[in-house]
Subunit: 225 residues, 2 copies
Amino acid sequence: MQKILLVDDERRMLDLLSLYLTPHQYACTKAQGAQEALRYVETQAFDIVLLDIMMPEMSGFELCAKIRSFSDVPIIMLTAREQQEDIVKGLKLGADDYITKPFNEEELLARIEALLRRQAPKNIIEVGGLKWNEERFELSFRGTPIKLTPKEFFMVGQLLKNPGKVFSRDQLILLIWGYDSETEGRTIDSHVRNVREKIRQSGFPVDKHLLTVWGVGYKWLNDIE
Amino acid sequence: MQKILLVDDERRMLDLLSLYLTPHQYACTKAQGAQEALRYVETQAFDIVLLDIMMPEMSGFELCAKIRSFSDVPIIMLTAREQQEDIVKGLKLGADDYITKPFNEEELLARIEALLRRQAPKNIIEVGGLKWNEERFELSFRGTPIKLTPKEFFMVGQLLKNPGKVFSRDQLILLIWGYDSETEGRTIDSHVRNVREKIRQSGFPVDKHLLTVWGVGYKWLNDIE
DNA sequence: GAATGTTTGCACAAACTGTGCACAAACCGT
DNA sequence: ACGGTTTGTGCACAGTTTGTGCAAACATTC
Protein backbone atom coordinates (compact mmCIF):
# COMPACT_ATOMS: atom_id res chain seq x y z
CA MET A 1 0.00 0.00 0.00
CA GLN A 2 1.30 3.44 -0.98
CA LYS A 3 1.96 5.98 1.70
CA ILE A 4 0.95 9.61 1.23
CA LEU A 5 1.90 12.53 3.44
CA LEU A 6 -0.71 15.31 3.55
CA VAL A 7 0.54 18.74 4.54
CA ASP A 8 -1.74 21.66 5.31
CA ASP A 9 -2.33 24.07 8.17
CA GLU A 10 -6.08 23.49 8.23
CA ARG A 11 -7.29 20.34 9.86
CA ARG A 12 -10.45 20.36 7.73
CA MET A 13 -8.46 20.16 4.52
CA LEU A 14 -6.34 17.33 5.88
CA ASP A 15 -9.45 15.41 6.80
CA LEU A 16 -11.01 16.05 3.41
CA LEU A 17 -7.94 14.79 1.54
CA SER A 18 -7.69 11.76 3.76
CA LEU A 19 -11.38 11.09 3.16
CA TYR A 20 -10.81 11.10 -0.58
CA LEU A 21 -7.70 8.96 -0.55
CA THR A 22 -8.13 6.38 2.17
CA PRO A 23 -10.87 4.36 0.41
CA HIS A 24 -8.59 4.08 -2.63
CA GLN A 25 -5.99 2.11 -0.74
CA TYR A 26 -3.67 4.92 0.16
CA ALA A 27 -2.29 5.18 3.67
CA CYS A 28 -2.51 8.82 4.66
CA THR A 29 -0.43 10.61 7.25
CA LYS A 30 -1.55 14.11 8.21
CA ALA A 31 0.91 16.87 9.00
CA GLN A 32 -0.51 20.13 10.27
CA GLY A 33 2.12 22.66 9.36
CA ALA A 34 5.55 22.58 7.79
CA GLN A 35 7.53 21.73 10.91
CA GLU A 36 5.53 18.60 11.51
CA ALA A 37 5.77 17.66 7.83
CA LEU A 38 9.52 18.01 7.89
CA ARG A 39 9.79 15.72 10.88
CA TYR A 40 7.75 13.11 9.07
CA VAL A 41 9.75 13.28 5.85
CA GLU A 42 12.97 13.02 7.80
CA THR A 43 11.93 9.91 9.66
CA GLN A 44 9.58 7.99 7.38
CA ALA A 45 9.33 6.86 3.80
CA PHE A 46 6.48 8.24 1.72
CA ASP A 47 5.54 7.54 -1.85
CA ILE A 48 4.02 10.98 -2.36
CA VAL A 49 3.89 14.27 -0.48
CA LEU A 50 0.76 16.38 -1.02
CA LEU A 51 1.61 19.90 -0.04
CA ASP A 52 -0.50 23.05 0.33
CA ILE A 53 1.58 26.11 -0.47
CA MET A 54 -0.63 28.47 1.55
CA MET A 55 0.59 28.00 5.09
CA PRO A 56 1.65 30.33 7.88
CA GLU A 57 5.08 30.14 9.56
CA MET A 58 6.92 28.28 6.78
CA SER A 59 5.40 28.47 3.32
CA GLY A 60 4.88 25.45 1.13
CA PHE A 61 7.61 26.75 -1.15
CA GLU A 62 10.14 26.81 1.60
CA LEU A 63 9.15 23.35 2.74
CA CYS A 64 9.34 22.05 -0.81
CA ALA A 65 12.87 23.38 -1.21
CA LYS A 66 13.89 22.02 2.19
CA ILE A 67 12.63 18.56 1.31
CA ARG A 68 14.33 18.66 -2.08
CA SER A 69 17.63 19.45 -0.42
CA PHE A 70 17.86 15.89 0.78
CA SER A 71 15.11 13.80 -0.82
CA ASP A 72 13.67 12.92 -4.22
CA VAL A 73 10.24 11.97 -2.88
CA PRO A 74 7.52 12.99 -5.39
CA ILE A 75 5.78 16.22 -4.37
CA ILE A 76 2.38 17.46 -5.52
CA MET A 77 1.45 21.02 -4.63
CA LEU A 78 -1.99 22.37 -3.82
CA THR A 79 -2.44 25.91 -5.15
CA ALA A 80 -5.25 28.41 -5.45
CA ARG A 81 -6.71 28.58 -8.96
CA GLU A 82 -5.67 32.18 -9.46
CA GLN A 83 -1.96 32.14 -8.64
CA GLN A 84 -0.51 31.02 -11.94
CA GLU A 85 2.94 32.21 -10.92
CA ASP A 86 2.78 30.10 -7.78
CA ILE A 87 2.56 27.00 -9.92
CA VAL A 88 5.62 27.99 -11.88
CA LYS A 89 7.49 28.87 -8.71
CA GLY A 90 6.62 25.56 -7.12
CA LEU A 91 7.69 23.51 -10.10
CA LYS A 92 10.94 25.41 -10.17
CA LEU A 93 11.58 24.52 -6.58
CA GLY A 94 11.36 20.84 -7.38
CA ALA A 95 7.68 19.95 -7.12
CA ASP A 96 6.62 17.25 -9.58
CA ASP A 97 3.03 18.28 -10.21
CA TYR A 98 0.30 20.58 -8.91
CA ILE A 99 -3.44 20.60 -8.33
CA THR A 100 -5.48 23.81 -8.22
CA LYS A 101 -8.09 24.39 -5.54
CA PRO A 102 -10.93 23.71 -5.60
CA PHE A 103 -10.27 20.27 -7.01
CA ASN A 104 -12.40 17.21 -7.44
CA GLU A 105 -11.69 13.68 -6.37
CA GLU A 106 -11.08 12.32 -9.85
CA GLU A 107 -8.42 14.86 -10.68
CA LEU A 108 -6.64 14.29 -7.40
CA LEU A 109 -6.55 10.54 -7.87
CA ALA A 110 -5.56 10.80 -11.51
CA ARG A 111 -2.60 13.01 -10.76
CA ILE A 112 -1.43 10.82 -7.92
CA GLU A 113 -1.61 7.71 -10.02
CA ALA A 114 0.13 9.38 -12.93
CA LEU A 115 2.97 10.48 -10.70
CA LEU A 116 3.34 7.07 -9.13
CA ARG A 117 3.45 5.50 -12.59
CA ARG A 118 6.12 7.96 -13.66
CA GLN A 119 8.42 6.84 -10.85
CA ALA A 120 10.67 4.34 -12.58
CA PRO A 121 10.69 1.03 -10.73
CA LYS A 122 14.41 1.23 -10.21
CA ASN A 123 16.10 -0.58 -7.43
CA ILE A 124 16.39 2.56 -5.44
CA ILE A 125 15.05 2.89 -1.93
CA GLU A 126 14.94 6.10 0.00
CA VAL A 127 13.92 6.97 3.52
CA GLY A 128 14.58 10.21 5.33
CA GLY A 129 17.38 11.18 2.96
CA LEU A 130 19.10 7.80 3.12
CA LYS A 131 19.28 6.36 -0.38
CA TRP A 132 20.13 2.78 -1.35
CA ASN A 133 20.97 2.41 -5.03
CA GLU A 134 21.60 -1.09 -6.28
CA GLU A 135 22.67 -0.07 -9.79
CA ARG A 136 25.35 2.23 -8.52
CA PHE A 137 26.15 -0.07 -5.63
CA GLU A 138 25.99 2.92 -3.40
CA LEU A 139 24.43 3.99 -0.13
CA SER A 140 24.27 7.70 0.57
CA PHE A 141 22.81 10.10 3.08
CA ARG A 142 21.82 13.51 1.77
CA GLY A 143 24.19 13.19 -1.12
CA THR A 144 27.30 12.08 0.70
CA PRO A 145 28.21 8.46 -0.01
CA ILE A 146 28.63 5.86 2.72
CA LYS A 147 31.27 3.32 1.79
CA LEU A 148 30.08 -0.24 2.35
CA THR A 149 31.58 -3.63 1.56
CA PRO A 150 29.53 -6.03 -0.61
CA LYS A 151 28.19 -8.09 2.29
CA GLU A 152 27.29 -4.97 4.20
CA PHE A 153 25.60 -3.45 1.17
CA PHE A 154 23.40 -6.44 0.49
CA MET A 155 22.50 -6.80 4.13
CA VAL A 156 21.32 -3.20 4.33
CA GLY A 157 19.42 -3.69 1.08
CA GLN A 158 17.68 -6.78 2.35
CA LEU A 159 16.53 -5.03 5.48
CA LEU A 160 15.63 -1.81 3.70
CA LYS A 161 13.54 -3.64 1.11
CA ASN A 162 11.41 -5.16 3.85
CA PRO A 163 10.84 -2.45 6.41
CA GLY A 164 9.43 -3.72 9.65
CA LYS A 165 10.12 -7.35 8.88
CA VAL A 166 12.33 -9.24 11.30
CA PHE A 167 15.13 -11.37 9.89
CA SER A 168 16.80 -14.03 11.96
CA ARG A 169 20.53 -14.48 11.60
CA ASP A 170 19.98 -17.73 9.73
CA GLN A 171 17.60 -16.04 7.32
CA LEU A 172 20.07 -13.28 6.59
CA ILE A 173 22.83 -15.81 6.00
CA LEU A 174 20.61 -17.69 3.59
CA LEU A 175 19.63 -14.52 1.74
CA ILE A 176 23.03 -12.91 1.51
CA TRP A 177 25.49 -15.80 1.59
CA GLY A 178 23.45 -18.45 -0.19
CA TYR A 179 22.28 -21.94 0.54
CA ASP A 180 25.58 -23.69 1.03
CA SER A 181 27.14 -21.18 3.34
CA GLU A 182 28.73 -22.39 6.54
CA THR A 183 28.82 -18.97 8.06
CA GLU A 184 27.67 -18.92 11.64
CA GLY A 185 28.49 -17.60 15.08
CA ARG A 186 28.53 -13.87 15.67
CA THR A 187 29.41 -13.04 12.08
CA ILE A 188 26.10 -11.35 11.36
CA ASP A 189 26.45 -9.36 14.56
CA SER A 190 29.82 -8.10 13.40
CA HIS A 191 28.41 -6.98 10.08
CA VAL A 192 25.50 -5.25 11.76
CA ARG A 193 27.95 -3.51 14.01
CA ASN A 194 30.06 -2.32 11.07
CA VAL A 195 27.01 -1.17 9.14
CA ARG A 196 25.69 0.77 12.11
CA GLU A 197 29.02 2.43 12.67
CA LYS A 198 29.43 3.47 9.04
CA ILE A 199 25.91 4.82 8.67
CA ARG A 200 26.13 6.55 12.03
CA GLN A 201 29.20 8.39 10.77
CA SER A 202 27.14 9.94 7.99
CA GLY A 203 24.77 11.55 10.47
CA PHE A 204 21.73 9.37 9.73
CA PRO A 205 20.05 8.21 12.96
CA VAL A 206 20.65 4.56 12.16
CA ASP A 207 20.22 3.41 15.74
CA LYS A 208 16.56 4.33 15.57
CA HIS A 209 16.03 2.48 12.30
CA LEU A 210 18.18 -0.64 12.37
CA LEU A 211 16.90 -2.39 15.45
CA THR A 212 17.81 -5.51 17.35
CA VAL A 213 14.88 -7.81 18.06
CA TRP A 214 15.98 -9.53 21.21
CA GLY A 215 16.23 -13.29 20.92
CA VAL A 216 15.20 -13.21 17.25
CA GLY A 217 17.28 -11.08 14.92
CA TYR A 218 17.28 -7.66 13.30
CA LYS A 219 14.81 -5.41 11.52
CA TRP A 220 14.68 -2.09 9.74
CA LEU A 221 12.04 0.43 10.75
CA ASN A 222 11.12 3.28 8.44
CA ASP A 223 8.81 4.97 10.89
CA ILE A 224 10.43 6.09 14.10
CA GLU A 225 9.02 8.09 16.95
CA MET B 1 17.84 14.58 -18.04
CA GLN B 2 20.04 17.15 -19.73
CA LYS B 3 22.66 18.95 -17.71
CA ILE B 4 23.21 22.66 -18.13
CA LEU B 5 26.04 24.72 -16.70
CA LEU B 6 25.12 28.33 -15.93
CA VAL B 7 27.99 30.81 -15.77
CA ASP B 8 27.63 34.37 -14.51
CA ASP B 9 29.21 36.57 -11.87
CA GLU B 10 25.87 37.65 -10.44
CA ARG B 11 24.11 35.21 -8.20
CA ARG B 12 20.72 36.73 -9.03
CA MET B 13 21.12 35.96 -12.71
CA LEU B 14 22.17 32.39 -11.93
CA ASP B 15 19.09 31.94 -9.77
CA LEU B 16 16.84 33.42 -12.44
CA LEU B 17 18.20 31.14 -15.15
CA SER B 18 17.93 28.12 -12.90
CA LEU B 19 14.37 29.10 -12.07
CA TYR B 20 13.50 29.20 -15.75
CA LEU B 21 15.17 25.95 -16.67
CA THR B 22 14.69 23.57 -13.77
CA PRO B 23 10.93 23.00 -14.26
CA HIS B 24 11.59 22.05 -17.86
CA GLN B 25 13.56 19.01 -16.84
CA TYR B 26 17.01 20.50 -17.07
CA ALA B 27 19.50 19.88 -14.31
CA CYS B 28 21.23 23.18 -13.64
CA THR B 29 24.63 23.71 -12.13
CA LYS B 30 25.56 27.25 -11.16
CA ALA B 31 29.06 28.60 -11.57
CA GLN B 32 29.76 32.06 -10.18
CA GLY B 33 32.70 33.25 -12.21
CA ALA B 34 34.94 31.81 -14.86
CA GLN B 35 37.32 29.95 -12.56
CA GLU B 36 34.52 27.97 -11.01
CA ALA B 37 33.02 27.28 -14.42
CA LEU B 38 36.30 25.96 -15.71
CA ARG B 39 36.59 23.56 -12.82
CA TYR B 40 33.11 22.23 -13.56
CA VAL B 41 33.71 21.76 -17.27
CA GLU B 42 36.94 19.97 -16.53
CA THR B 43 35.39 17.45 -14.18
CA GLN B 44 31.79 16.93 -15.29
CA ALA B 45 29.80 16.32 -18.44
CA PHE B 46 27.32 19.01 -19.52
CA ASP B 47 24.98 19.10 -22.47
CA ILE B 48 25.03 22.88 -22.71
CA VAL B 49 27.00 25.75 -21.21
CA LEU B 50 25.12 29.04 -20.79
CA LEU B 51 27.69 31.76 -20.51
CA ASP B 52 27.45 35.46 -19.72
CA ILE B 53 30.20 37.35 -21.51
CA MET B 54 30.12 40.28 -19.09
CA MET B 55 32.21 39.06 -16.17
CA PRO B 56 35.08 40.51 -14.16
CA GLU B 57 38.44 38.72 -13.77
CA MET B 58 38.16 36.46 -16.82
CA SER B 59 35.74 37.55 -19.54
CA GLY B 60 33.22 35.24 -21.09
CA PHE B 61 35.22 35.38 -24.31
CA GLU B 62 38.33 34.15 -22.64
CA LEU B 63 36.44 31.36 -20.88
CA CYS B 64 34.76 30.39 -24.14
CA ALA B 65 38.11 30.08 -25.86
CA LYS B 66 39.58 28.14 -22.95
CA ILE B 67 36.72 25.65 -23.02
CA ARG B 68 36.95 25.30 -26.78
CA SER B 69 40.63 24.44 -26.50
CA PHE B 70 39.68 21.06 -25.12
CA SER B 71 35.93 20.55 -25.47
CA ASP B 72 33.12 20.72 -28.02
CA VAL B 73 30.35 21.16 -25.47
CA PRO B 74 27.64 23.43 -26.95
CA ILE B 75 27.98 27.00 -25.68
CA ILE B 76 25.29 29.69 -25.64
CA MET B 77 26.40 33.23 -24.86
CA LEU B 78 24.42 35.84 -23.00
CA THR B 79 25.09 39.32 -24.43
CA ALA B 80 23.71 42.81 -23.98
CA ARG B 81 21.33 43.84 -26.76
CA GLU B 82 23.55 46.60 -28.06
CA GLN B 83 26.91 44.94 -28.59
CA GLN B 84 26.47 43.49 -32.04
CA GLU B 85 30.21 43.03 -32.40
CA ASP B 86 30.32 40.98 -29.21
CA ILE B 87 28.06 38.43 -30.83
CA VAL B 88 30.32 38.10 -33.83
CA LYS B 89 33.38 37.85 -31.60
CA GLY B 90 31.77 35.17 -29.49
CA LEU B 91 30.69 33.06 -32.40
CA LYS B 92 34.18 33.30 -33.82
CA LEU B 93 35.60 31.99 -30.57
CA GLY B 94 33.49 28.88 -30.85
CA ALA B 95 30.15 29.72 -29.23
CA ASP B 96 27.24 27.97 -30.90
CA ASP B 97 24.48 30.50 -30.31
CA TYR B 98 23.71 33.66 -28.39
CA ILE B 99 20.84 35.28 -26.51
CA THR B 100 20.56 39.00 -25.99
CA LYS B 101 19.58 40.47 -22.65
CA PRO B 102 16.94 41.09 -21.60
CA PHE B 103 15.50 37.81 -22.77
CA ASN B 104 12.26 36.01 -22.02
CA GLU B 105 11.73 32.45 -20.95
CA GLU B 106 10.38 31.24 -24.29
CA GLU B 107 13.34 32.47 -26.26
CA LEU B 108 15.79 30.91 -23.83
CA LEU B 109 14.07 27.55 -23.95
CA ALA B 110 13.65 27.65 -27.71
CA ARG B 111 17.34 28.30 -28.30
CA ILE B 112 18.41 25.60 -25.89
CA GLU B 113 16.12 23.06 -27.46
CA ALA B 114 17.20 24.04 -30.94
CA LEU B 115 20.83 23.64 -30.02
CA LEU B 116 20.24 20.27 -28.42
CA ARG B 117 18.33 19.13 -31.51
CA ARG B 118 21.15 20.32 -33.69
CA GLN B 119 23.53 18.07 -31.83
CA ALA B 120 23.29 15.05 -34.05
CA PRO B 121 22.67 11.90 -32.02
CA LYS B 122 26.28 11.03 -32.60
CA ASN B 123 27.84 8.38 -30.55
CA ILE B 124 30.08 10.88 -28.97
CA ILE B 125 30.49 11.22 -25.26
CA GLU B 126 32.48 13.89 -23.57
CA VAL B 127 33.43 14.56 -19.99
CA GLY B 128 36.00 17.00 -18.72
CA GLY B 129 37.78 17.17 -22.05
CA LEU B 130 37.87 13.43 -22.56
CA LYS B 131 36.05 12.59 -25.76
CA TRP B 132 34.88 9.15 -26.89
CA ASN B 133 33.92 9.09 -30.55
CA GLU B 134 32.46 5.83 -31.78
CA GLU B 135 32.22 6.91 -35.40
CA ARG B 136 35.89 7.80 -35.59
CA PHE B 137 36.88 4.97 -33.27
CA GLU B 138 38.85 7.43 -31.28
CA LEU B 139 39.38 8.49 -27.70
CA SER B 140 41.06 11.80 -27.08
CA PHE B 141 41.84 14.18 -24.25
CA ARG B 142 41.90 17.88 -25.08
CA GLY B 143 42.51 17.14 -28.70
CA THR B 144 45.37 14.70 -28.35
CA PRO B 145 44.34 11.17 -29.28
CA ILE B 146 44.73 8.21 -26.96
CA LYS B 147 45.44 5.05 -28.88
CA LEU B 148 43.23 2.17 -27.76
CA THR B 149 42.74 -1.35 -29.05
CA PRO B 150 39.20 -2.42 -30.07
CA LYS B 151 38.42 -4.26 -26.85
CA GLU B 152 39.75 -1.41 -24.78
CA PHE B 153 37.77 1.09 -26.83
CA PHE B 154 34.44 -0.65 -26.40
CA MET B 155 35.05 -1.25 -22.75
CA VAL B 156 35.63 2.44 -22.12
CA GLY B 157 32.55 3.21 -24.21
CA GLN B 158 30.36 0.86 -22.25
CA LEU B 159 31.40 2.40 -18.96
CA LEU B 160 31.27 5.96 -20.28
CA LYS B 161 27.75 5.47 -21.66
CA ASN B 162 26.47 4.48 -18.23
CA PRO B 163 28.15 6.76 -15.73
CA GLY B 164 27.71 5.62 -12.16
CA LYS B 165 26.48 2.17 -13.04
CA VAL B 166 28.50 -0.76 -11.80
CA PHE B 167 29.39 -3.51 -14.25
CA SER B 168 30.53 -6.90 -13.08
CA ARG B 169 33.27 -8.65 -15.02
CA ASP B 170 30.72 -11.10 -16.38
CA GLN B 171 28.49 -8.29 -17.55
CA LEU B 172 31.35 -6.60 -19.36
CA ILE B 173 32.35 -9.84 -21.04
CA LEU B 174 28.77 -10.35 -22.17
CA LEU B 175 28.53 -6.80 -23.49
CA ILE B 176 31.89 -6.60 -25.22
CA TRP B 177 32.73 -10.18 -26.18
CA GLY B 178 29.23 -11.51 -26.76
CA TYR B 179 27.17 -14.37 -25.50
CA ASP B 180 29.36 -17.29 -26.48
CA SER B 181 32.62 -15.99 -25.14
CA GLU B 182 34.72 -18.19 -22.96
CA THR B 183 36.81 -15.35 -21.72
CA GLU B 184 37.38 -15.44 -18.00
CA GLY B 185 39.97 -15.09 -15.32
CA ARG B 186 41.74 -11.80 -14.89
CA THR B 187 41.31 -10.81 -18.50
CA ILE B 188 39.03 -7.89 -17.73
CA ASP B 189 41.44 -6.73 -15.07
CA SER B 190 44.25 -6.67 -17.60
CA HIS B 191 42.24 -4.58 -20.00
CA VAL B 192 41.23 -2.18 -17.26
CA ARG B 193 44.85 -1.90 -16.31
CA ASN B 194 45.88 -1.12 -19.88
CA VAL B 195 43.09 1.39 -20.34
CA ARG B 196 43.98 3.16 -17.13
CA GLU B 197 47.63 3.35 -18.07
CA LYS B 198 46.95 4.72 -21.56
CA ILE B 199 44.45 7.34 -20.40
CA ARG B 200 46.67 8.29 -17.49
CA GLN B 201 49.46 9.02 -19.96
CA SER B 202 47.27 11.64 -21.62
CA GLY B 203 46.97 13.63 -18.41
CA PHE B 204 43.29 12.90 -17.75
CA PRO B 205 42.70 11.98 -14.09
CA VAL B 206 41.39 8.55 -14.99
CA ASP B 207 42.00 7.11 -11.54
CA LYS B 208 39.29 9.35 -10.13
CA HIS B 209 36.80 8.37 -12.80
CA LEU B 210 37.32 4.72 -13.60
CA LEU B 211 36.77 3.11 -10.22
CA THR B 212 37.01 -0.39 -8.85
CA VAL B 213 33.97 -1.48 -6.87
CA TRP B 214 35.47 -4.05 -4.56
CA GLY B 215 33.93 -7.47 -4.83
CA VAL B 216 31.64 -6.36 -7.66
CA GLY B 217 33.28 -4.84 -10.71
CA TYR B 218 34.06 -1.47 -12.22
CA LYS B 219 32.24 1.81 -12.79
CA TRP B 220 32.81 5.16 -14.40
CA LEU B 221 32.05 8.30 -12.43
CA ASN B 222 31.56 11.62 -14.20
CA ASP B 223 31.28 13.70 -11.07
CA ILE B 224 34.32 13.55 -8.88
CA GLU B 225 35.07 15.42 -5.70
C1' DG C 1 55.75 -15.78 -43.45
C1' DA C 2 57.88 -12.21 -40.85
C1' DA C 3 56.80 -8.31 -38.40
C1' DT C 4 53.79 -5.93 -35.76
C1' DG C 5 50.10 -5.36 -32.79
C1' DT C 6 46.31 -7.44 -29.73
C1' DT C 7 44.28 -10.55 -26.49
C1' DT C 8 44.51 -13.59 -22.84
C1' DG C 9 45.66 -15.25 -18.48
C1' DC C 10 49.29 -16.98 -15.08
C1' DA C 11 51.89 -15.99 -10.84
C1' DC C 12 52.88 -13.23 -7.32
C1' DA C 13 52.25 -9.06 -4.40
C1' DA C 14 49.31 -5.82 -2.36
C1' DA C 15 45.04 -4.31 -0.64
C1' DC C 16 40.83 -5.19 1.41
C1' DT C 17 37.12 -7.96 3.52
C1' DG C 18 35.08 -11.75 6.30
C1' DT C 19 35.01 -14.30 10.30
C1' DG C 20 34.60 -15.50 14.93
C1' DC C 21 36.82 -15.48 19.64
C1' DA C 22 36.87 -13.38 24.18
C1' DC C 23 35.04 -10.45 27.11
C1' DA C 24 31.81 -6.65 28.44
C1' DA C 25 27.29 -4.98 28.47
C1' DA C 26 22.41 -5.41 28.09
C1' DC C 27 18.32 -7.94 28.66
C1' DC C 28 14.78 -11.15 30.68
C1' DG C 29 12.29 -14.00 33.88
C1' DT C 30 11.85 -15.07 38.51
C1' DA D 1 18.55 -8.45 42.80
C1' DC D 2 20.32 -12.58 40.52
C1' DG D 3 21.66 -15.90 37.23
C1' DG D 4 21.24 -17.31 32.65
C1' DT D 5 20.96 -15.89 28.03
C1' DT D 6 21.62 -12.82 24.22
C1' DT D 7 23.87 -9.03 22.04
C1' DG D 8 27.71 -5.42 21.41
C1' DT D 9 32.61 -4.57 20.68
C1' DG D 10 37.73 -4.77 19.94
C1' DC D 11 40.72 -7.16 17.50
C1' DA D 12 43.57 -10.30 14.84
C1' DC D 13 44.17 -13.69 11.41
C1' DA D 14 42.48 -16.13 7.48
C1' DG D 15 40.59 -15.66 3.15
C1' DT D 16 39.29 -13.25 -0.94
C1' DT D 17 39.78 -9.91 -4.52
C1' DT D 18 42.41 -6.82 -7.20
C1' DG D 19 46.83 -4.79 -9.32
C1' DT D 20 50.90 -5.72 -11.99
C1' DG D 21 54.74 -7.72 -14.73
C1' DC D 22 55.30 -10.71 -18.10
C1' DA D 23 54.91 -13.97 -21.83
C1' DA D 24 52.50 -17.07 -24.73
C1' DA D 25 48.70 -17.41 -27.98
C1' DC D 26 46.34 -15.23 -31.42
C1' DA D 27 45.31 -11.96 -35.21
C1' DT D 28 46.46 -8.63 -38.75
C1' DT D 29 49.32 -6.35 -42.04
C1' DC D 30 52.59 -5.95 -45.50
